[in-house]
């Protein structure tokens, strides 16, 4: 099974280390900010939280964007090698493959240019066709590819609930004369005794 882009793990860790420094740095301006918050009838704590979240989000985005190696690995695992070997671009070890090296260089160049992920993928789709992307996009008809498995699971659960309810409501089948099935408290007592006897 392929990994799900382990290299992306760095971004949140670094961004989560930032807020403390940011809070500390903002201390000299505290009075001014409080005044601003009061003026806008916004509680200071909420204002501060929003500020921190904004800074974190910005840092998160920029840290992610700046980690070219991580993006290379991530995008390289979201594309197929175009040589027809049927392997993920970064996993193609097809001897004498005339595509994978070229595509990897193109990918690195595109990332170095500062293109965002969508733009990088679009460029590859234009050059190599839609099959170069390793999974259907979440737009248009392709969205159905993602929806159907969960829809099937949902329908399955609904059907299961219907079946279980109909089974529970079904009358007991007739028993041969003389057989009485213990119910409720009597059944629980029997189970307890049996468990004690067998210790199972």
């Amino acid at each position: 099974m392929h990994s799900a882009q382990p290299s992306r793990k760095q971004a949140p860790k670094e961004s989560s280390a930032v807020p403390a420094a940011v809070v500390g740095a903002s201390r000299p301006h505290r009075r001014g900010q409080d005044a601003l918050a009061t003026a806008g009838r916004m509680p200071a704590l909420l204002f501060r939280s929003l500020q921190i979240m904004l800074v974190c989000a910005t840092l998160f985005i920029f840290l992610g964007a700046g980690d070219a190696d991580a993006r290379f690995k991530d995008l390289g695992h979201r594309m197929m090698c175009a040589c027809g070997c049927g392997q993920i671009l970064l996993e193609c070890n097809h001897v004498g493959c005339t595509y994978s090296d070229k595509m990897r260089n193109q990918l690195m160049a595109s990332i170095d240019k500062g293109n965002n992920d969508d733009l990088v993928l679009q460029g590859f789709v234009q050059e190599y066709g839609p099959t170069v992307v390793a999974a259907p996009s979440a737009t248009g008809f392709n969205r159905i590819a993602w929806i159907m498995p969960f829809l099937a699971l949902g329908m399955g659960i609904t059907f299961l609930i219907y079946v279980v309810r109909s089974w529970k409501n079904r009358p007991e089948p007739a028993l041969a004369d003389g057989i009485v099935i213990p119910q409720g408290r009597e059944l629980d007592d029997l189970r307890r005794k049996a468990r004690r006897e067998t210790d199972l």
Binding site: A4, K9, V95, W146, P149, F150, L153
Partner: protein
């Protein structure tokens, strides 16, 4: 030689057609003449086996005698091919593998027809249905994919050789295992359809086919895992499962077959899910055929499809006919399949089987949907899209984890109803242990909130641990009871426990193996890889290892020439092994092939074993130095250990129970209580 083979195939077709038609006619009558006709059909079925064996022997003999006048031998063998691979030529190409299918089916039919006295009428139906499948394969072999077709023109001096990817020891056993699984499901399918057609009363057909189904499932399991191991050891991309269409094709019948093995217990114990079990076994058989269709038709591109032609149409027609027949009899005889009991409680073994089936089928549908979506997209949008690993990982992994949760919980729920007390008693300690494992992972730096793949890894670890601990606790609990009553030590008591209810405890062992497989898979997010051009003395540092290129060299033999690097592997400054990643160039086919080398670190890491995986990717044309790609794949060996345990568990479940030990019972119940009863 080709004439003998052709004759054998034609004879086999005639015999199987007779077996089918005479068997069918005999089933309409009840007089002595019909019985005699039925007996001739049975014998014709047995003779079919002999004819197909003859055809297979001729093909293998042709490979060994380098008879390149036969086109199939010319395209799949050569004079310098090692003997084991010459034997494997039988299943290396389209025509040969179809003959192998037919051979296995005839073999299964042979055994079934010898054991016909168990239930003559049901066996006659099953025999007739198997003969119909046999006729289909022999029609293809005789008229669409003839393995004994003769080369046109002059006799070539040598063959083009076997595909290099197939020249690996596992290819001698992987396809037979997979095919024995695929073909084997024809037997329970035939019994199920036969029982449905004849309105067979009771669940005896399930008891008759139980062992067939388990053996078949075991073969398919081995086949699927050997396929993964082959991909890991030969394809050289560092992974073992790429969600390739052919891999998916083998997984789908495995999933429905697994669902059948579980839900069939509800029919045996409680007389429930009769229609569902029919649907499951029909689906399993049809998915096996679909797998063969996918591999052979070329409708979907795959790294595993070694033989493609137009026989896909034949398979589509056959699948359509089979669906029509199954659906017709399901509707016609549905009255026979009414449930005998009702569901008494939501928290019960029955409902866990229902959810288990739902998840297995959802997984199967997801894989089927993903495999065929490129074709659907082509039809609707006018262009294909790729549905690869990122799609399957994102959609199938959550469902698989839910399934793992049920694997832990399901077996410990009682039939009919489970009390909250019982749940607490059974799950408290395993759950604490499992959560502790998750906590340990986080302490050692695996933060599930940092990355989705880490989240899945932690969840898989917790759930796998839950399965392992519940299975161990079940063995301990049962073992203690027997030890207390018989004065044995705990180990022999647990052995006794197993022997008394092999099916139940064999099943637990299989679950134990499944959990180990998940542990092997959960290491994936922690894989590392480095690629480097290496001169003498150059180093690669990866994980705790230092790889030093000592030398590189080359060799030559009649089959291939090769070059390889000699890499010393160091850890903590101490050399632990030397590895020889290799690249071959096969002379007859003119194709290159890389052969990775794998070192599992059992001695260094014990339970946290991982693989050092080296690939010789080729030489830099300018510098002449080899390019080495090194991978560290943590926990992967647990997958193969898990497989061994799953197979062992299946074998245990196949062993008949030892004499039942009756526990003295003082309760006013009408039947004796059996220790460890229930599956």
């Amino acid at each position: 030689m080709s004439q003998i083979g052709s004759f054998a195939l034609m004879l086999a077709l005639g015999l199987s057609a007779y077996s089918f038609l005479a068997g069918l006619l005999a089933l309409f009558g009840k007089d002595a003449a019909s019985a005699r006709l039925g007996e001739t059909a049975r014998r014709a079925g047995i003779a079919t086996f002999a004819a197909v064996v003859l055809a297979a022997i001729v093909l293998v003999a042709a490979a060994f005698s380098d008879d390149f006048s036969i086109a199939y031998i010319f395209h799949h063998s050569n004079r310098d091919l090692p003997a084991a691979y010459k034997f494997a030529v039988l299943w290396s190409g389209q025509e040969g593998s179809l003959l192998f299918w037919s051979l296995l089916l005839a073999g299964y039919g042979f055994v079934l027809r010898l054991r016909y006295k168990t239930d003559q009428r049901l066996f006659a139906y099953a025999s007739m249905i198997i003969a119909s499948v046999q006729v289909f394969f022999l029609l293809i072999l005789n008229f669409a994919a003839h393995p004994f077709a003769v080369m046109q023109g002059g006799l070539p001096p040598d063959g083009t050789g076997l595909n290099p990817l197939l020249q690996y020891p596992e290819m001698v056993i992987h396809p037979p295992m997979l095919y024995m699984g695929y073909v084997g499901f024809t037997v329970p399918f035939a019994f199920a359809l036969g029982a449905l057609i004849m309105n067979y009363p009771g669940e005896k057909w399930i008891q008759i086919t139980r062992r067939w189904t388990m053996v078949t499932w075991c073969f398919l399991t081995i086949g699927v895992f050997l396929g993964a191991h082959w991909a890991y050891s030969v394809l050289g991309w560092g992974g073992y499962w790429g969600w390739d269409p052919v891999e998916n094709a083998s997984l789908m019948p495995w999933l429905t077959g697994t669902a059948f093995l579980h839900s069939v217990m509800m029919q045996e114990k409680r007389g429930m899910l009769k229609v569902w079990n029919m649907v499951l076994i029909f689906a399993t058989f049809l998915l096996s055929m679909l797998g063969t269709f996918l591999t052979r038709s070329g409708v979907i591109s795959s790294v595993h499809a070694f033989a493609q032609s137009s026989i896909g149409t034949w398979f589509l027609v056959f699948i359509a006919i089979a669906i029509a027949v199954c659906t017709y009899f399901l509707i016609k005889n549905r009255g026979q399949l009414k449930s005998e009991h009702k569901l008494e409680a939501l928290v019960s073994r029955e409902s866990s089987f229902l959810f288990n089936n739902l998840l297995l089928l959802t997984l199967c549908f997801t894989i089927l949907w993903g495999t065929f979506f490129p074709i659907i997209s082509d039809f609707v949008q006018g262009h294909k899209v790729t549905v690869g690993a990122p799609f399957f990982n994102r959609v199938a992994v959550p469902v698989a984890l839910l399934l793992l949760l049920l694997t832990a919980i399901g077996p410990l729920l009682a039939w009919r109803k489970t009390s909250i007390d019982s749940l607490k008693r059974n799950f408290l300690y395993p759950a604490i242990g499992a959560l502790a494992v998750g906590g340990m992972m986080m302490v050692f730096g695996v933060r599930p909130w940092e990355d989705p793949s880490y989240f899945y890894a932690v969840m898989a670890a917790i759930l796998s641990a839950l399965v392992l601990f519940t299975v161990i606790s079940e063995f301990l609990r049962g073992g203690r009871v027997i030890a207390g009553k018989t004065d044995q030590n705990l180990l022999s008591a647990m052995y006794q426990l197993c022997r008394r209810n092999t099916r139940r405890y064999g099943g637990y062992i299989v679950h134990f193996g499944v959990a180990l497989v998940f542990i092997g898979i959960l290491g994936t997010p922690f894989n590392k890889e480095v690629e480097k051009e290496m001169a003498f003395g150059d180093k690669i540092n990866i994980g705790p290892y230092t790889l030093v290129c000592q030398s590189y060299t080359q060799d030559d033999n009649p089959n291939f020439s090769n070059e390889w690097a000699i890499i010393n592997v160091f850890r903590d400054g101490k050399q632990i092994t030397t590895m020889y990643p290799e690249r071959r160039f096969y002379k007859s086919s003119g194709q290159p092939q890389t052969l990775p080398r794998i070192y599992p670190s059992f001695k260094e890491d014990y339970f946290l074993v991982g693989d050092v995986y080296l690939v010789y990717e080729g030489k830099n044309e300018t510098t002449g130095r080899p390019i080495i790609k090194a991978h560290i794949n943590p926990l992967v060996p647990w997958i193969w250990i898990g497989l061994i345990i799953m197979v062992f568990g299946t074998i245990v479940a196949l062993v008949p129970n030892a004499a039942v030990a009756r526990v003295p019972v003082t309760l006013p119940v009408r039947t004796p209580v059996q220790a460890g009863a229930g599956d």
